[in-house]
Symmetry: C2
Subunit: 116 residues, 2 copies
DNA sequence: CAGCATCCAGGGGGATACTG
DNA sequence: CAGTATCCCCCTGGATGCTG
């Protein structure tokens, strides 16, 4: 980032969309999204019920909603085996995995500063 | 992050607060916060009116609100010179500056993936 | 098992007008 | 110049009950 006297970090051209920063936030900013992503980064593949068990307190509506948004944004992959009884597995996508480093840093920053 | 078979990224103890990730999101997740932080990281010190000019489209209410929250969270510093006419300068705090690396990475990730 | 439907509160965010 | 004060919309997120 620059200091001298003008715009480098946020140049005029990119100002409108905050150089993509806001895009990133909108993708992971949902109430439960980072928890879901973290769980999937940790377990590779999880069934719906596993995620639900893991994220105590989340309601079914919210879980489905956040899963769908993550899927629409291409961060996770939904695999419906179309069996009876239903069996659906969720996994992280390439795009989702590319967020791993960022999430870890957010985690570290949060841990470090949340007690201040 | 781990793969073998269990929880490292999100261990049970930290699950409740998502290992601090959610804390981080709440601090920078406001509609205009990253723009303000980026502007202050870029300019060191800015007057209220400068920020307002820079962030076209933001309303006064929103600007003040987000500035106050950023200040309450310790990310920026407000310096009121108590002059007439008023003169108030905003600058980034140490805690705020420690977010710089993270913001740049969010920017890069967003730029790279927003066209997909 | 893996959802969907409905209802609802709260707050985030915006427009506009006013002030010390 | 640097804010306040109102008003208002809508969307997020939560509770609860139902279903293929």
């Amino acid at each position: 980032m620059r200091k001298e006297n003008s715009t480098n970090f946020l140049n005029e051209k990119d100002l409108a969309n905050n150089c993509g920063m806001y895009y990133t936030i909108t993708l992971i900013g949902g109430r439960w999204k980072i928890s879901i992503l973290a769980a999937l980064l940790d377990h590779e593949v999880m069934r719906y019920s596993e995620i639900k068990t893991r994220l105590t307190n989340i309601t079914e509506r919210m879980l489905i909603k956040q899963l769908k948004e993550l899927q629409d944004d291409g961060l996770i992959i939904r695999n419906d085996y179309k069996e009876v009884p239903p069996r659906v597995e969720y996994s992280i996508s390439k795009k989702g995995r590319s967020l791993e480093k960022l999430l870890i840093e957010m985690q570290q920053w949060g841990k470090k500063h949340s007690k201040e």
